[in-house]
Structures are given as C-alpha cells and as structure tokens.
C-alpha cells in the first residue's frame, strides 16, 4: 500500500510539532523517520496511524483519503516502544486479540492456526502460554510485532521499536526485522533517533528537524551527500572549523578548500574523524595533540589547532605520536556549509 502525506500539520496547544510535511512512501518500502527528540517524527507516525488527528493536510492510503478514518478502521499495525502488551493475557491471547475483536468473524480454530503461524514467524513457538511478564524484552517486542501483523495491516508502523532493548539484542532484532519485511513485503514506516539503526535497516531515510523534513534519500545518498550541517552532524561525529569564503575558496587559517558556488562570507568546514591525516610536512591546519585514546581497532586523537579549535580524528593502532607533539591536520573530505 502506497502512503502519501500531503502538507500535514500538527499543533499541540501553542507548540507546532509538525510543519507542513509532505512525503511519499512507496508500496513495500521500509522507510525510517530519523530525527532528534522533538523533531516531530513520532507525531507524524501517530498521525499516519490515526492516534492523532492532523490539524491540516491530508494522508492518503493508496488513493483513499485516510485523514479522517478513525484508528480502529484504518488497518494499521502499530508497534510501541514499550511493547504495550496486555499484561493479563498470554502471548497467544495477545496475538489473537485483534482477530477476536474484529468485525470479520473467525472460527476459534482459524484463530489458533493463525496464532501458531505468527508465533513461528517471530520464532517464539512454544512460548504461547507464557504471560508477557515472563519473557524477555526482545521476546516481548517480537510478540508485539506478531500481534500487529495478525490483523493483516495495510501498513506497519513502529515507534522506536528497539529503543528499550540492550545493544546486542537491538542489532539482532534489526537484522531480523529486515528479513521479515523482505519476506512479507509490507509497507513499513519506523521512527528512530538512532542513525545507525536507520541506516542499517531502511531502504530510504527521512531526516527531520523541528517538525520539518531536512533531507530524504537512500542511506548512501544521505551519508555521502548531506545537504546541510544539521544532517552532517546528526548522522555521525563531525569536526567543525570556522572558515571564511572568498572567491569560491574557503580559508581555515591559511589553508584553502574548494568552495565553488558558495557566496563570500563566513562558513564552517565539517569533516568526519576518519577523514583526517596527521602530517608533519606542513600540509594542513597546524595543531598539537592533546590526548590519545586507545580503542580495540584504532586510536582516537584529540588535537587542538593553533586557532584554538578542538578536532578529533581516528588513526591506525600503530599511530606513533604522543600528547604534546605538534603537526598538521590534513582534511580529506571537507564539507563546507554557509553559516546560518
């Protein structure tokens, strides 16, 4: 099912949570809404579900205008961050809930069969008689997914689905969710503030800030071509050096970077910690080493430029230099953005 958001607006009291967001989600796509807290990503998800009504704009499911369809008739599967399993029902009863309250009557045998099928899908066969309080967090989230899938939703919505889980469990569940999605081909929209999760899992990532879309594209597109400093910073560690743009060149202290197309004025040069070479031959921004941190597969160097800016970069474990030594920071893939 193709989902389309057309200029959707939501305001809480006086706080405008979502400013005119338009978005197309292709049928069968796995799309991530990525943003910091307060960026409106969860509000957008809840409006698609019908758990909030949009104050303006339209939401289409296929060609049908779903904007005013109440949540119970919208046919969405929703997975909550904290599972929201019914604590007084067994795992099987939780999964069967949607089928039992449905207007479409199903025989008890048909329901039991479908529950078994879903338990097998989420790899929890044999745990059907347990209560949610008796299984682990990762298992609970899989039950929540099975429960959402039981009603054959037109679209699957997940609100920070792995947010409450341990890092290891989270990585496993992520890969597993991708497999399930590929198997079922259901249009899926999920919300996260974890860029690694979004890039790992999604076909396409929509990055939000302050209730607006700042960039959307495949993980490759947003990683390789961040359109502004916010996206660059949000997707991973980034160093920043102040620069001045003159005649299509950006100058950091005495070092020039190509800034073709940028108007003259102040700007900032952003770069990843991995995109730095430490040199002693005078090429790059002069700096000295403040600290060296050791990690299993690399060394992270904290340095300070002669202009007083802090810079962090990663080097091979063999990096021989020590605290206090002077050298030059050679930036390999600088990204230059105008200020403001």
């Amino acid at each position: 099912m193709k989902i389309r958001l057309d200029n959707v607006v939501k305001t809480f009291d006086t706080f405008r949570a979502v400013h005119g967001v338009s978005l197309d989600i292709e049928s069968g796509e796995l799309l991530a809404l990525l943003g910091p807290s307060g960026s409106g990503k969860t509000t957008i998800l809840r409006m698609v579900a019908g758990l909030e009504y949009a104050d303006g704009g339209h939401i289409y499911f296929g060609t049908e205008d779903a904007t005013d369809i109440p949540v119970r008739d919208r046919g969405v599967g929703f997975v909550f961050q904290h599972y929201a399993l019914f604590p007084h029902m067994t795992v099987s009863e939780n999964i069967a809930f949607g089928m039992k309250v449905s207007k479409v009557k199903r025989s008890p045998e048909a329901i039991r069969e479908r529950v078994e099928e879903l338990l097998a899908l989420v790899q929890l066969s044999g745990l059907g008689e347990r209560f949610p309080g008796q299984i682990s967090g990762g298992q609970r989230q899989r039950v929540a997914l099975a429960r959402a899938l039981a009603v054959d939703p037109r679209v699957l919505l997940l609100d920070e689905p792995f947010g409450a889980l341990d890092a290891n469990v989270r990585r496993d569940l992520r890969r597993w969710l991708r497999r399930i999605h590929d198997e079922l081909g259901i249009t899926t929209l999920f919300v996260t503030h974890d860029q690694e999760e979004a890039l790992d899992l999604a076909d396409r990532v929509v990055i939000l800030d302050k209730g607006m879309i700042v960039q959307q594209g495949t993980p490759e597109e947003v990683c390789r071509h961040p359109e502004n400093a916010f996206v660059m910073r949000f997707l991973g560690d980034a160093n920043s050096l102040p620069a001045t743009v003159r005649d299509g060149m950006a100058y950091v202290q005495d070092v020039a970077y190509d800034a073709a197309g940028l108007a003259d004025g102040t700007a900032e040069v952003l770069f990843r910690p991995a995109d730095v070479a430490w040199r002693e031959d005078g090429q790059g921004v002069p700096a000295h080493i403040v600290r060296v941190l050791d990690r299993p597969d690399s060394r992270r160097v904290l340095a300070k430029t002669t202009g007083g800016q802090s810079v962090e970069f990663d080097t091979a474990p063999e990096f021989p230099h020590r605290k206090g030594e002077a050298g030059f920071i050679d930036v390999r893939r600088p990204r230059i953005y105008k200020n403001g």
Binding site: V71, R72, F78, H82, H88, M89, G98, K100, P132
Partner: protein
C-alpha cells in the same frame, strides 16, 4: 541473627505486634469466649432465631445492593477524576472523602431529614409512591453513602498507573470502545475493584450510626444485625450480644478469604516462572 543495614527492626516489629494484639486480637478473642460461654444449643438458638435471621437478611441484602451501586458509581467517579480535567475536579476529589470524615450519626440524621416524607427528596419521591426513610431502601442509601470512598480510593491509583498505550494498542487492533473496556481495562482494574468492593461490603455490614436514624428499626423489616447486637447489650444479655456479633465476625472472615482468593486469581499473570 544476620546483620541488617536498616535499624530498628526488633523495636518496630515488637511495638507493631503488641499493638495489633491489644487493639485487634484481644477484643476478638474476648468476643469468641463470651459467645462460647453459651453452650452449643443456646448459641444456635440465639443466632438462628427468626428475628436474628431476619436481621441477617436485611443487612446482607442491603449491603449487597449498596456495594453493587458503589461498584458502578465508584468506578465511574474514579474514571472521571483520573481521565478528565474539568473545573472543580479537585473539589469533587476532596468531596469523595467526606463520608469518611463526617460522623456517621450526622450522615444518618441528614439523610433522614432529606428522605423523610416532608424532606427535600422524600417529598417528591413519596408523590411518586417511593418511600425511602424507614424502609430497606433507606438502609441501602445510608450504606452506599458511608462506604463510597472505598471503591473510588482503591481504583483511582490503579487507573492512574494504567498505561494509556494499552488502550491505543487495542484501538489500532480494531477494538471498539466497549470491547477495549471489557477485555483490557476492566480485567486490569479487577484486583483493585475487588479490594474496594470487599472493603465497601464489610463497612456496609458493620455500619451502625448512619443507618439507625433512617432505618426505622422495625424488627423483621428494617432491623440490622449490628442494632440487634446493640439491643441485646442494652438488655445486659452479653452472651447473646456476643453470639450475634460472632456471626458478623465469621461473615467478615469468610468474605475476606473469598476476596483474597478472587484477587489472587485475577493477578495470576503477575506470577513469574
């Protein structure tokens, strides 16, 4: 004895046990001894006399109706107080405790005045042919009035803690308001409702002050068990009074046991493997 970090266990436990023994257990033992001094035949004759049995029927049936009323109305009141924000909510919330704070005799006299044939409510009601004061209906109203806070105050905190995403989840799964209430909300409130109902019922069984003013106290019709025990007491027939009181005591114990059993059943899901 193992060393503990928290101080004061022997002292506080000692005080607690002594206090419980003196205030709760001792009077009950005295009551049982007094009743036991009768001998089985006399005991049975007193507690199974027509007048006593009639008083049990009046007390239990009225308490049952009053509790049923409080179950529905108390749940609704707790629901409104927890789920909605409206002007005067805090005043209503404070009013709920009034039946606890008010001397029961005051409650009884006010209710009698209101529901007497010439009272504000009694007048119009008697025009409709409904008599409240000096009938079992009056007893029910007095019982419902004095025991209302129990259901509200036991359900309220549980309702406040009820995760709203459970209801949202049920909605996304297609549940109607009624099915969500019946299948999700009510089962989760059941333990609290049972606790509230059992307290409310117990209080109604034992209520005295509020009832005797409005009941009319006609033997076989509107005489409650507590009053019968009191009448025997005034006749200096202490053993008979104790015998009747022991029946109420047994009823209270049985009811507590049954509620605990039901509560344990309703809370099965919280037991971990």
């Amino acid at each position: 004895m193992k060393r503990r970090v928290l101080p004061g266990l022997p002292l506080s436990l000692g005080i607690t046990l002594v206090y419980a023994a003196i205030i709760i257990v001792l009077p009950l033992i005295a009551l049982v001894f007094k009743a036991a001094s009768l001998g089985p035949a006399d005991y049975w004759r007193i507690i199974s006399s027509d007048r006593a049995v009639a008083s049990y029927v009046v007390t239990i049936s009225c308490a049952f109706v009053a509790t049923l009323f409080n179950l529905v109305f108390g749940l609704a009141l707790a629901w409104v107080l927890v789920r909605y924000r409206f002007p005067g909510r805090r005043i209503v919330d404070a009013l709920v405790d009034l039946p606890f704070a008010l001397p029961t005799a005051v409650a009884g006299i006010s209710l009698t005045t209101l529901f007497a044939v010439n009272g504000w409510f009694g007048g119009p009601l008697s025009a409709l042919g409904i008599k409240v004061a000096y009938t079992p209906l009056g007893i029910m109203i007095a019982m419902a009035f004095t025991s209302l806070p129990f259901v509200v105050r036991t359900v309220q905190p549980v309702l406040e803690e009820l995760d709203p995403t459970l209801e949202e989840a049920a909605q996304t799964l297609g549940g109607s308001d009624l099915s969500i209430f019946a299948r999700v909300v009510l089962p989760l409130l059941t333990p609290a409702l049972l606790a509230g109902v059992s307290l409310s019922f117990a209080r109604s069984l034992g209520e005295f002050g509020a009832i005797i003013f409005i009941a009319g106290n006609q033997p076989f019709e509107t005489e409650i068990t507590a009053l019968l025990a009191f009448i025997r007491l005034e006749e200096y027939d202490y053993p008979a009074s104790a015998a009747i009181a022991s029946v109420m005591l047994i009823a209270a114990f049985v009811m507590l046991a049954v509620t605990n059993l039901l509560q344990a059943r309703a809370l099965r899901y919280t037991v971990r493997n």
